[in-house]
């Protein structure tokens, strides 16, 4: 629709359009684009938040590469991400297959598994902290006691930190994945299964050759959003494992991850330049993951 309207006419015609876009664009530029550029700049500086930022080139990134705590944080994050996404996706799919019917039992089960998704996340973290209370007043240790074991210091045993974080994440997230998978299952035409049955295909073969391939878009979404969310974990570490500002990562940094470390460097040590460099490492990781997920091309074609 490229009509040769003179400039003044175009302004009159499109002025309202731009005025309607303005609030969004102004906020978008002011609190996203500009801060993004600024954080890139800050990542090349030494900045304590009070004195002006001093340009130091790639120093922060060089330092990060040899920062044992950061490497530890990355390793922890990798373990946590793999554990929570693999387990979470498998259980989401399993739950969806088990409870995708319309009967009351299925509906109640779906609600039970979905409950954490609508509960305050801080409340859930405080709840876990209380369940994992080190003495026998905690639920976990009461069960250990029933089984004849001795009370476990759940939150003070470094080897248990990542497994507990994975467990909390899977427990809290599988209901959400289940809902997506249930919706995906509902969009598979029943005729496929009927045809397969006529051909004498077993339940397993139907699952393997119809269900699983047709669920691939859902799986991609569950996995990629799961990865992105897992890389950004903060509250679980901060609420459940941190004891004040000095041990942000739990005992021996056993739960230290990217965002908690970013917070630690930026807001307890006021190394805002260094923290910005960490933020950009996080950005690059998530950017790559998002490229896989977001089909920018398709969205653009639709426009």
């Amino acid at each position: 629709m490229a009509s040769p309207i003179p400039l003044r006419g175009r302004l009159r015609r499109y002025g309202t359009s731009y005025a309607m876009l303005l609030p969004f664009l102004a906020l978008f530029a002011g609190f996203l684009l500009w801060p993004l550029a600024n954080s890139l700049y800050l990542s090349f500086t030494k900045f304590d938040g009070i004195n002006p930022a001093a340009f130091t080139g790639v120093d922060n990134f060089v330092q990060l590469a040899s920062d044992a705590r950061f490497r530890h944080a990355l390793g922890n994050t990798a373990l946590y991400v793999v554990g929570s996404v693999v387990l979470g996706t498998l259980l989401s799919l399993g739950l969806a297959l088990a409870f995708n019917g319309t009967g009351w039992l299925h509906r109640i089960m779906r609600t039970v598994f979905f409950l954490p998704s609508v509960t305050s996340s801080i409340a859930l973290m405080l709840m876990w902290k209380w369940v994992l209370y080190p003495s026998d007043v905690g639920l976990a240790n009461t069960i250990v006691d029933w089984l004849g074991g001795n009370a476990v210091a759940w939150l003070a045993t470094p080897g248990l930190t990542i497994p507990i974080l994975v467990l909390m994440s899977v427990w809290g997230g599988m209901g959400y994945g289940m809902v997506l998978y249930v919706a995906g299952l509902g969009s598979i035409p029943q005729e496929y299964y009927e045809a397969a049955k006529i051909d004498g295909a077993s339940t397993w073969r139907q699952f393997r050759h119809i269900t699983l391939p047709l669920l691939r878009p859902v799986t991609t979404y569950v996995v990629v959003t799961g990865l992105i969310g897992a890389f950004q974990v903060f509250e679980a570490v901060y609420i459940v494992f941190s004891q004040g500002a000095n041990t942000i990562g739990g005992v021996l940094d056993s739960g230290l991850m990217i965002v908690p470390y970013l917070y630690d460097q930026g807001f307890t040590h006021f190394r805002l330049g260094y923290a910005s460099a960490i933020a950009w490492v996080l950005f690059l990781i998530i950017f790559v993951l998002s490229l896989i997920n977001l089909r920018v091309g398709r969205a653009m074609k639709e426009l």
């Binding site: 309607m20 876009l21 969004f24 609600t111 598994f113 305050s120 249930v182 029943q190 933020a279 996080l282």
Partner: protein, 318 residues
């Protein structure tokens, strides 16, 4: 914390793997046997919630006891409000309920109020701003809209923590730290919401809008009178995402909030948790957690249909 079954999650079809269709009783029993691990898993879903719920109604003495009781033996509301408590007591923090714990006016109500103000403003504000922009991008033939839309889509790949430090500096320079503005203003332009609304609007025929233009309606009027009502299901789905995210927002408030008065519920609870760790105080802390969860659970119950539709839409369209 009983939540009604989610009627709307289920697509109308039966499970392809459900044995209920043909096999009769034995197959049905087999189906339940196959699901047995999941029934056990459901128990582990409920147990922590049950633990939270009974903790809320136990007095401190019962909370510190081993082995713990599984039904409150002397149930009490004192974890919410303790009529016995007085500031002159020897150990004032000991029995105090959640509404009495904070040294701010109105105690816990203050944080409820903060959270409600913040969540409501962000939800209404961002839906208005994003729907305006989405209307232009989806239905106006202006120069540069492809570029703008591409930029907005690209920005969805930015984890918000990347802009955390500069945004904190901006808030400080504006003198907004510790204010509602710091909560609300940076949270208004939501790329995902705009993206979702644009996609939704593209599926709506242009004729409706053209007809209104022919009738002489202005663009603002069309947006308010035609576009917003058409967008209602999409707005409902998005409002649920926004409400849940903002109600639970923690890291950003943790950074911008200094005084006790301006804390939202998550920050208030985190502070309470770091001041009082022992079992004596768990009753009050859990009472706070329960109160923090009630609004989102109620909201979910009311908007269930849109909720699951929104999840499915955003998930499956990719």
């Amino acid at each position: 914390m009983a939540v009604a079954p989610m009627d709307t999650i289920a697509p109308v079809q039966q499970s392809p793997h459900s044995k209920d269709t043909g096999g009769g009783r034995r197959a049905r029993i087999n189906g339940h046997l196959l699901r047995l691990p999941f029934y056990l898993l459901a128990l582990t879903m409920i147990a922590p919630f049950y633990w939270l719920l009974i903790t809320v109604f136990k007095p401190p003495r019962e909370l510190a006891r081993t082995p713990p009781s599984f039904v409150p033996e002397s149930p009490t509301f004192a974890n919410f409000y303790d009529p016995e408590w007085s500031a002159q007591a020897i150990n004032p923090g000991h029995l105090q309920g959640i509404f009495q714990r904070y040294q701010v006016d109105f105690g816990f109500w203050r944080f409820m109020f903060n959270s409600i103000v913040i969540t409501t403003s962000i939800t209404v504000g961002s839906l208005l701003i994003c729907s305006l922009a989405a209307y232009v991008i989806a239905k106006h033939d202006i120069k540069g809209r492809r570029t703008i839309f591409l930029l907005i889509i690209a920005s969805m790949m930015v984890p918000w923590q990347t802009t955390l430090i500069p945004n904190y500096v901006i808030m400080r320079n504006l003198g907004w730290l510790d204010s509602y503005a710091a909560y609300i203003v940076p949270a208004l332009a939501k790329a995902f919401v705009l993206f979702f609304l644009v996609q939704f609007l593209q599926s709506i025929p242009n004729e409706l809008i053209q007809a209104a233009r022919v009738d002489g309606a202005g663009e603002w009027r069309i947006w308010w009178r035609i576009v917003l009502p058409l967008l209602r299901p999409a707005l409902a789905a998005m409002s649920i995402f926004i409400v849940l995210a903002e109600w639970n927002n923690f890291l950003w408030p943790l950074i911008i909030v200094q005084s006790d008065e301006m804390a939202n519920i998550p920050v208030a609870l985190a502070r309470l948790n770091s001041y009082f760790g022992g079992p004596d105080h768990q009753g009050a802390i859990m009472a706070g957690g329960l109160l923090a969860s009630v609004p989102t659970i109620v909201f979910f119950l009311i908007f269930q249909k849109y909720f699951t539709k929104g999840i499915a839409l955003s998930g499956l369209k990719g």
